[in-house]
Symmetry: C2
Subunit: 369 residues, 2 copies
């Protein structure tokens, strides 16, 4: 079977702008083609849009705006991991032989309807993600004796790292005290523990090995894929202090790529809220359970950007349908040694973790040179 | 590469019911599993939802309701051909080796937001499909000297055939005069020339050859796939009396299956409006340009159900995200000789045509025993 590579990418700064979704999508696609003049739009077999926006027919609309007449065109939605679901779908179109080159574009507006899961009205106000995040935070802190101050380091580190990311939503740095003193949203959650909704777009072009090797200077290969959905409602989770879908997706992705966690040089972790970063690192096997903050603290103190180099969701903003694609672009840049002042030394293998709705669904990808 | 087969299907009657989308989806999935007790839900690797509904995270929600914990789960939208886009995506997941068994469920409510394309507000009221349908009808009638009465036969035939479809939206039969005397929507379009929005659901299970041959009595194989998007806005069409995307998708599907139009025994044609049936038959190569009504007339007069045996969209209703899947179920039943009083004699090879937005996008599938 053909290998599938990342042949090009485009991204635009995350903002709070009130633009229509078509313009947001177009921004990163234009950036992609502007920076990759060798790519012929006539060779694009499929255009897949990743978004939670309610607008319809966005893949044909983006195709028309971009001058592409693809075979395959449709939108994909799965809340916050729409982006990596779209990447895996594109992978399968290429690996199955139905396409040689697939354009993936993710975009969201700051007011995306995907920010609230309205299903199961019996939960009343608990439809908003801050409620599961609060329950996770309380559970994690109690089970592993972690303080608010310890957990706040996730936000401090990721805001620091985002300063090196030219596309991050501008937010500045913060201290531990800033985080714990920021607006109290629930008993266990402060404003600075949360990723911010924003307007943003990110696009990548996937290609078969044949096409990638012919046209692309430095393709990055997708060698591991793992996905798992355990439920839709977070109250079905077995635990509020670990992530079962993340664990299973991580195991599958590493197995497919024939790697171990110790082989991973750089990671993008879905830190929708501070507590998600240590929980995901633990469920992925990067540390023992309850010890994730030690790994994070060490990275922060040594100024090693290996965990969420672009600042994660907390540091750079969370445009839902674009997030998994922006994560994938970051790992691609790291493996190409093109991450500028965010560069992790000698990065050869990277991992992306992207999840939805209290980790009821996770995607893990392994990328390598 | 593995062949991909249709291993099971489920469908429920199309209605005007005001049910929530989750319940609509669940209906046909329950029907599928009730009728196929041998299938183990633990073997389902992916759950894909086809809909234009604005609800989010429907694939994980459907999975949780159905007791499935899939690897892959997401929704797909591309207006009226969401259904066949989802089938092709599922095909690629299996053909690429990422999945062995994929559940596809399409559903829509009668008030779906996919019935109007709001993009390009410069068109004013022309956002509703009746306007492109009216322009197509005027253009087709003028170019090929076809009368309103001649074209009305499409609706007469499809309402007649729908009487044999237990899942069709109940609408009764009609005469040529009933059609031309029905409510005038535009100068060139009458109410009975239009398919009706409705609430409906249809599900199929695709499986790899290995799984299908082990578990399934009579799998039907997907041997031809063709897709094309030429634009998003219908004013970009080269012609208003033929369908370029349908022509290209049809050629690709027949080429992949190594068949000719004369090998096709039964077809599902996307008759969103009366004029679409002859136009699509012509663009697919089943007749010369402008002669599609002759083929339709002959089939009607000989009571041969080979074109839209279940009554098409006009006869059975058009629940957008479910339509392409319901079409695929019809062809599957025909090839399995399980179509009851709709059965076309000796049907061995069938073709499905499903399109969106004035044929700016088309999917064509070839199925065989």
């Amino acid at each position: 079977m053909t290998r599938v590579g990342i042949a090009a990418y485009g991204i635009t700064p995350f903002t709070k702008n009130d633009q229509n979704i078509e313009s947001v999508l177009l921004g990163s696609v234009k950036n992609l083609f502007d920076n990759n003049a060798k790519i012929n739009r006539d060779d694009v077999d499929a255009v897949l849009v990743s978004t939670n926006d309610n607008s319809k027919y966005l893949a044909p609309i983006l195709s028309e705006m971009t001058g592409i007449q693809p075979k395959i065109a449709h939108s994909i939605e799965n809340l916050c991991n729409s982006g990596t679901n779209t990447i895996v779908s594109a992978y399968s179109y290429i690996a199955s032989g139905l396409a040689e080159m697939v354009l993936i574009s993710g975009a969201e507006r700051y007011d995306s309807p995907g920010q609230i899961l309205t299903w199961d009205n019996s939960r009343g106000e608990f439809k908003h993600p801050i409620f599961w995040a609060s329950i996770f935070t309380k559970s994690y802190k109690q089970k592993f004796s972690i303080s608010d101050e310890q957990l706040a380091l996730v936000s401090v580190k990721n805001h620091k790292q985002a300063q090196k990311n030219p596309n991050a939503l501008p937010m500045g740095t913060c201290t531990i005290q800033d985080v714990v003193n920021s607006k109290k949203l629930t008993d266990d959650l402060r404003l600075l523990d949360c990723s911010r909704p924003c307007t943003g777009s990110a696009s990548i072009l996937l290609a078969s090995e044949k096409i990638a090797k012919k046209n692309i200077d430095m393709p990055i290969w997708i060698t591991g894929i793992g996905q798992k959905t355990t439920s839709a409602g977070f109250t079905k989770n077995d635990s509020f202090s670990s992530m079962e879908s993340t664990k299973l997706a991580g195991q599958a992705a590493l197995k497919m790529a024939s790697y171990n966690t110790k082989d991973i040089d750089v990671t993008e972790i879905h830190d929708a809220f501070s507590v998600c970063e240590p929980m995901a690192l633990e469920s992925l096997g990067f540390s023992d359970m309850g010890k994730g903050m030690r790994v994070i603290k060490e990275a922060h103190e040594t100024n090693n950007f290996k965990i969420n180099p672009r600042g994660g969701l907390i540091g750079s903003g969370h445009p839902l349908g674009a997030t998994g694609i922006a994560q994938t672009i970051e790992i691609t840049q790291q493996l190409q040694s093109k991450a500028g002042s965010r560069q992790v030394d000698d990065a050869k293998v990277g991992l992306i973790h992207n999840m939805s709705a209290a980790a009821t669904s996770s995607t893990v990808l392994v990328l390598e040179k």
